[in-house]
């Protein structure tokens, strides 16, 4: 991973910028596209700006997947099996 603190983003190539991207996403709070440190670079490299916005969209939209979609659930047989096995197994109390 490259050191972001010493990087000069105004004079960076797109390949160099991509090397910083994983760390930027980790530390940038999900809004690299709006970070003023990169505005000059994004103006000069609009494809890079588009890439960053796309990756931000994907990361943001991924959060919506946490809640399962409608109709996504295990079959009733899963609970039947669990309930059947639990009958033979007393709970383990740990205090």
């Amino acid at each position: 991973m490259k050191d972001i603190a010493t990087a000069n983003f105004d004079k960076m190539t797109t390949a160099e910028f991509e090397e910083y991207l994983p760390e930027l996403f980790e530390n940038g709070g999900g809004s690299i596209s709006k970070d003023p440190r990169f505005s000059t670079f994004f103006k000069a490299n609009p494809d890079c700006a588009a890439l960053v916005r796309d990756l931000e969209t994907i990361a943001e939209q991924a959060k919506s997947l946490f809640e399962p979609g409608a109709g996504t659930e295990p079959s009733d047989a899963v609970w039947s099996n669990i309930a059947s096995k639990l009958k033979d197994e007393p709970p383990t109390k740990q205090n």
Partner: protein, 223 residues
Amino acid sequence: MQTKPNPGFFKRNAPIAGEAEAIENAKNGDPDAFAKLYALHKRRVYTLCLRMLGNVSEAEDMTQEAFLHLFRKLGSFRGESAFSTWLHRLTVNLVLMHLRKKGLQLVSLEETINPSEEDAPKRDFGSRDTMLTGSVDRVTLERAVALLPPGYRMVFVLHDVEGFEHNEIATMLECSTGNSKSQLHKARLKLRELLRQSQALQPLDSASEPISEKGPAGQKVIA
């Protein structure tokens, strides 16, 4: 010093009505309370298993195992983290153990590190013509996630969907934190590629049609 908020933390810690009481009662052996915990968490646990395994039958088996394990371990839950976080971590560890038993090296982590040329994201920025912003719905994204190579999918699901931190993922997958960050980035790049391909293939009048009904290994895609 300001702490960086972790969006996953809030997602995974949302309080569920009746959960705390059900946990306490289930700890004391109340079968109805355990049934309630199952009802509250079955869909999330099953979805997590399905995303990690890509196979309905295995996902159901692991859901069953996760809740049986929960039953045995519930007494050790002390509320230091949210119950759902604790349960999901327990589930992830069980699924990983299952995959290791099957002989898969950390869900093809090797494949993740050195994916085939076909699976790796292409090293170009693409054009702006097919920018995704504002056009990715959850169904489309879910289907694209199912098409990811297994190792990429694992890191993406654990980090971006489940909200685990890279250090937690590194511990679970027995890899470095840097590796987890790097694989996540590659997973997102690959997803962008898949989503752009799907957009390019879709005629305007069928924008809601799925990418495909089945994933690369013939697994059911979650809708």
